[in-house]
Amino acid sequence: MALSSWRGKSLWLAFALLLAAPLLFAQSAALSILSQCGCMMILALSFNMLLGQSGMLSFGHAVYSGLAAFASAHLMNELAGSSAAALLLVPLAGGVAGMLAGVVFGYVATRRSGTALSMISLALVELVAAAVLMLPAWFGGESGVSTNRVLGMPLFGVDFSSQLQVYYLIAFWLFVSTAAMYGLTQTPLGRIANAVRDNPQRAAFIGHDPRQVRYLMFMLSAFFAGVGGALTAINFEIVSAENLSLLRSAQILLFTFIGGIGYFFGPMIGAITGVLFSSLLSAYTRGWQLYLGLLFVLIVLFAPGGIAGAWIKLLAGWRQMTLRGWLRLAGGLLTAFGAVFLIEMLYRRAAIL
């Protein structure tokens, strides 16, 4: 398979889809979901800079997107009455805010590696989430900080009051961020981070400082998380403690892993899947979080490459699939349907009692 031409063509296809999506899904609710997907894709890609590319499992990613979201909300409140053009740069400010948080907290987190790093990141998100509730003057307490993205003077008739306009803003920043994060994988730092992921001891013996590499990747990842966080603030016009909670971090982790951490585009698939679960599926069943968790566990157990990995494997080997393979697949699907049926019955029963 000629990978480079394949990649080039799919890039243009993706760009075209990005532009055309609102034409296919024109209703406001669908646009809202598309906007959420866009934000989540940036968050998932930034998270995978840590997990998939550098081997750091962080449970505290929402700290950087959340703090950036708060900063953006305050910034938008300050900018009220200026012009809509200023909104174009708010995500950049969010990125800077995220990166600053990454500089501070990343210093503590990257003192260690492996399991200890994960636990420190967990403690940091709990710390920041609790601090947010303790400081209502800065973070709005339980109700959070609300803002208005319509900053003032329209730019060529665009004032970002409609979901369609917000979608295109998010799409623009999604394209820019994705291009930047992909570009990073083709730089020396990107490759060295991969080496530190695979074998930090050998990387040190070659002359790289694993801690500095991790710290730098942490800061850059926090920058893009900040961009995503700012876009979330713009999209929902309200930021609360939930934006930087362990739950939000866990969701980003779940979505990214489900998509596939070994491939650059994996997290994007995971983000779409995750948003569909939380926004669409939640309307049909109370058990959507259980399904999400079960899907995650099943993927960890049986398909650690995620949806992206499974897709690539399928493309490469579906012709070699034996009868036994197809039967096994059918059996798996039947079991899944049965389990879903059972779980739905249990939820109905619990609702009645």
């Binding site: 997990l51 081997g55 499992l57 503590v108 003192r111 260690r112 590696s113 492996g114 399991t115 200890a116 994960s118 636990m119 420190i120 967990l122 403690a123 940091l124 709990e126 710390l127 609790a130 601090a131 303790m134 400081l135 209502p136 003057a137 800065w138 362990l246 866990a250 982790l253 779940l254 892993f257 058990g287 979080q289 259980l290 999400l292 968790g293 079960l294 995650f296 566990v297 960890v300 157990l301 650690p304 779980i343 249990l346 939820y347 619990a350």
Partner: protein, 314 residues
């Protein structure tokens, strides 16, 4: 004076409960190399199982049966899940236990609902153990401390004196050698994992009615025990012990103290105006900050002594 003593005792009982939890976690980490993210979920299951059993059979049978149930469940999880995932690496193991913790919370909510359960302290243990002037020390807290100490002493004796304990100690440092000698090391792994989960379940039985039994209880204590093991030094039981007591006593003391930086500064004659930049931060009392003190301690320890109090060099 009595405040200090009673608070110290309360802090000790909480700290011992934390150690009951974190000792199992440390044992599992030392042996299997994986930090069981679902450990607090077994704590929660212990409480929920105890509640279910106690309404049928009473508290004392629950005290015995609930930990056994959680231990069995732990054995199942290790045998079917963790063993399968081990070949994909340490990150995969951690992710598996993380996913498990996520799923367990949902299943518990499915089975028992989202609100707190009326899992109550048994009548025989309710009420004060002794009273110092006007402050009472609850009998149940005393029971918790006694139980924790007995269990931990028994576990320590088991490790040091029994044959199985000797095998476990050997497997901690030289699993391949042990396997070469003919011992069933995978079964030992399952046993240790189950024992750790049983300890967590036991902590849940006594913690569930002393504090609260609700779906959020796992998250509440989970993060704290991870702080305990990292501060104490990953893999060090001694470190886990010191860190548990330290955090238990620290938090219990802080909750009762209503001082803030603002009041301290005022005590020294420095007044800060309400519109000053750092005012919201200075205004926080120690009691308000108490829930995050463990995390602040972790940050401090990571900055000053990255390997933890008794941990081996990274």
């Amino acid at each position: 004076m009595e405040f200090t003593l009673i608070t110290l005792l309360n802090g000790l009982s909480y700290g011992l409960l934390l150690f009951l939890l974190s000792s199992g976690l440390t044992l599992i980490f030392s042996m299997l190399g994986v930090l069981n993210f679902a450990h607090a979920s077994f704590y929660m299951l212990g409480a929920y199982f105890a509640y279910a059993i106690s309404i049928q059979l009473g508290f004392w049978p629950a005290l015995l049966l609930a930990p056994l149930l959680t231990g069995l469940l732990g054995a199942l999880v290790e045998r079917v899940g963790l063993r399968h995932v081990r070949r994909h690496g340490q990150v995969a193991e951690l992710l598996f236990t993380f996913g498990l913790s996520y799923v367990v919370v949902e299943l518990v909510q499915l089975a028992w609902g989202r609100s707190a359960l009326p899992y109550a302290i048994p009548a025989q243990l309710d009420g004060p153990l002794f009273t110092l002037y006007s402050t009472a020390f609850p009998a149940y807290r005393g029971f918790m401390m006694l139980l924790a100490l007995l269990v931990l002493l028994a576990a320590g004796w088991l490790l040091k004196r029994s044959r199985i304990g000797m095998l476990i100690q050997a497997a901690l440092t030289h699993p391949q050698m042990l396997e070469a000698l003919g011992h069933n090391v995978p079964r030992l792994f399952t046993l240790v994992f189950a024992a750790g989960c049983a300890l967590a379940g036991l902590a849940g039985v006594v913690g569930g009615n002393a504090f609260v039994t609700e779906p959020g209880m796992a998250a509440g204590v989970g993060s704290i025990i991870f702080v305990v093991v990292v501060v104490g030094g990953l893999g060090s039981l001694k470190g886990a012990f010191i860190a548990s007591l330290l955090i238990g006593i620290l938090q219990t003391y802080a909750v009762a103290l209503d001082v803030s930086l603002l009041s301290a500064l005022a005590h020294w004659g420095i007044q800060i105006a309400p519109d000053a930049v750092g005012y919201p931060l200075l205004r926080l009392t120690l009691a308000q900050v108490a829930p995050v003190l463990p995390y602040l301690l972790l940050v401090l320890v990571m900055l000053l002594r990255p390997r933890g109090l008794f941990g081996l060099r990274d």
